[in-house]
Symmetry: C2
Subunit: 462 residues, 2 copies
């Protein structure tokens, strides 16, 4: 039996799957500061119109442009692998498959959307993209895409990461991007913060404000902003993961999986794998679909469903989602990609519909799983990915207790070669688990009631 199920380039999916077309109830629209739905032209200074059209599309299938595929071929189709060594170690009757998204040059699933976004921007005549990045995963993925598509790229990187984690900054420079520490002196938003707090470590909220400002104030009108998760079109671009996995499971002689797992911060890698199977579940298939988040940042498992801003600085439209509040300050867990206060509206909608069963873990449990993974399957996974590994192991152990031959599929969203300090802390017993206290949760979400809420209340899901 082959442990790696490979597809030829000629077998790559040629359309993305848009779950919005199959949702039992439609998504609540994003709202402006006046509480009224945002119209496409209100977003036009920030995103190009072709991506805005994707964002609101109700089409089930959307063609993937040939030029996007031609870039993805550098690492796609990505292998589906069977974790036979882990299965043997666990003595489980479950068959564990994982989609290996760590083969992309930046090392994660992120380029699936950065390439598509850079392409659509270029088609729309845009010359430059701006974005923010924390530890640098998304910034490097966008730098990579812009390099291959001939766009300028400007990345505002949270200052503390810029200083403490120089390596992804160098990656961005290799791909020709201009990465600056945020707050910077290059925007009004940055200068204002620097005046008031010259020694601030920076934050994603500030970096987003700077990136959006630089995009919307370019007098040539040829600059736009790019976001790496949360939005509908971002999740759409990631569905190539699940669509490939479907073909590969079939090639391995499997029917549908019993369990589908992905870690979820903004929701894009999870959605990319899960949405094509969510369609089957909506049509009656018995699949347990599990987004996994940290207990330190328990958006789906504990946070209220409410309209909220996507960023700390309150510059984005309001989105209906499970949110810990835009002012939420996440504890310093190592899975930096899972520290977002909200969650993709599409994912939240499915949680509300009962289609997904979210789960939350402490980071020590996840690193324990990652170590088992490294010592059986051999590879070192990203701290975010370790949440999916932990869930896969837990489900495989349940299958063993139940004596059932379940098929478990999870998304191996990225390698951990550039995020090893968490492993070091775990191995030396220095890793802290954080549980969000109820009072904190209430403190951060109290103010949400002042934001528009009628639509959410009407939905009956609150």
């Amino acid at each position: 039996m082959e442990k790696k199920i490979l597809l030829k380039e000629s077998d790559i999916p040629r359309q993305w799957y848009n779950l919005a077309a199959d949702l039992p109830t439609p998504l609540l629209p994003p709202l402006g500061p006046d509480g009224k739905p945002v119209t496409p032209d209100m977003l036009a200074p920030v995103f190009p119109m072709n991506l805005i059209e994707q964002e609101v599309s109700a089409e089930r299938w959307i063609d993937i442009p040939e030029e996007v595929l031609n870039i993805l071929y550098r690492w796609r189709p990505a292998p589906l692998k069977r974790a036979v060594y882990l299965e043997k170690h666990l003595k489980t009757p479950a068959r564990i498959y994982y989609k290996d998204e760590s083969y992309s040059p930046p090392g994660s699933h992120k380029p699936n959307t950065s390439v598509a976004q850079a392409y659509y921007n270029r088609e729309f005549g845009i010359k430059k993209l701006t974005t923010e990045t924390g530890a640098g995963q998304w910034g490097s993925a966008l730098a990579f895409a812009c390099s291959l598509l001939g766009l300028e790229c400007k990345v505002f990187m949270v200052r503390i990461s810029f200083t403490q984690k120089p390596f992804r900054k160098i990656m961005m420079a290799v791909w020709g991007a201009n990465c600056v520490a945020s707050p910077s002196s290059e925007t009004n938003a940055g200068r204002k913060v620097l005046e008031e707090l010259p020694d601030t470590p920076g934050s994603l909220g500030i970096a987003i404000s700077e990136a959006i400002e630089e995009a919307v104030t370019d007098p040539s009108g040829k600059t736009r902003y790019s976001l790496g998760s949360v939005l509908n079109h971002v999740l759409l671009h990631q569905t190539i993961i699940g669509l490939e996995a479907k073909k590969q499971l079939e090639a391995a002689g499997e029917k549908l999986p019993d369990i589908v797992i992905g870690c979820a911060g903004g929701g894009s890698n999870f959605a990319g794998l899960a949405f094509p199977f969510t369609a089957d579940k909506i049509n009656g298939a018995d699949i347990k679909i599990m987004p996994v988040e940290p207990k330190a940042c328990p958006t789906m498992t504990r946070a209220p469903f409410h309209y909220d801003f996507g960023d700390t600085a309150c510059t984005t439209p309001l989105m209906a989602m499970h949110t810990l509040g835009h002012a939420f300050i996440p504890p310093p867990i190592h899975a930096g990609g899972l520290r977002y206060h909200g969650m993709a509206p599409l994912v939240c909608q499915c949680v509300n519909e009962g289609l997904f069963e979210p789960r939350a873990y402490h980071q020590n449990k996840c690193y324990e799983a990652a170590l088992t993974w490294a010592r059986t399957e051999g590879a070192i996974c990203a701290p975010e990915t370790s949440h999916a590994v932990a869930a896969a192991i837990e489900e495989a152990e349940t299958a063993k207790q139940e004596g059932k031959e379940k098929v478990i599929l999870f998304n191996y969203s990225g390698h951990g070669l550039m995020d090893l300090s968490g492993y070091d802390a775990y191995l030396s017993n220095q890793l802290t688990d954080y549980e969000l206290p109820d009072e904190e949760l209430q403190k951060y979400t109290k103010d949400l009631e002042n934001l528009p809420e009628a639509e959410v209340r009407k939905s009956g899901k609150w």
Copy 2:
């Protein structure tokens, strides 16, 4: 046309190719300090007898054990990729193929031999392996193999790298290895150095001495030493690279390549790709086979062919090779894996026979090539690998000038995600090129004449 030529696991080569069986003239034997050939039992305290037998074998084909294959399947067969994006950028009529060895969990070709070595040691009843490592590439590859095969692993890491490059040290710990800074207080060799030079940054020579001492002094007799390059059996294990590439080129509709390229430090990744094609060349095929080294450490292109020690501390047998002298202190180029003073005897023999055409480059030229690579093919290569990329580009440009459709094949020995500081230096114009002055070369090689030389002189290749 598919850009990635993939093999199924069932198509993996099941035997390694031993070039020693086909050499026009036999290899000069390693000598002891008395100038007499080393016998297998003299090596027995250092290596297990089954690997010593491989070291001196004259068999052309040697079976790869099933259990070794079962571990290699985690990433092998490795893809052969066609560099279509680079070809287009260069406007060359050449077809450029590269074997992607960066997919192994430690990120390079090294595990091809670390897995085999750990396996043979375990089969021989050995419980623990020791080794030395500079920046940590080899140490992490051996840690990986020992983890999967259930052996203890002790790595002596040159102190300055241990302090300045913590990440590969953490990788080793993830795979359960015990990595200590060298010189350490755990061996006589280490303690002696620490007494005399408490602040020494350490060196590979000292680390080798410590690793060998820890292996040979284990009273249980269950510890052996492991080396990551240079030796015949190490090169043998790497030939799976070239054997896979042959099948893949055939699948791509190509006959033999016109040009085969690999970077060469100790020689193992180059030999792994090149030796199966060297057999064709010995049989009359017209193939240009090019090992590429740094001008800062010009072993094949400038150093004399002589018997010399493999290590700075003069503890190994004497090997006949091109050598800059065991006391050679290489300049601080970023390609740490290409700073070895000698070269695999098998590779040197082929250079002497005129089978290989070695070439040397400055590091600025290599980083320039690496940047072109990253911005066309998309991936960030290791500083060592950049030497092969530079040669491939140079040959593709020559093919363009000549208007010839040459087939170029090179070994993409590893990714550079954990070695980004060289890129940073290059991008900020801070990278120095070092040319070894003649007087330096003479200084380091002068003393070699006091070592046994009769055999080498007799060979007429000196």
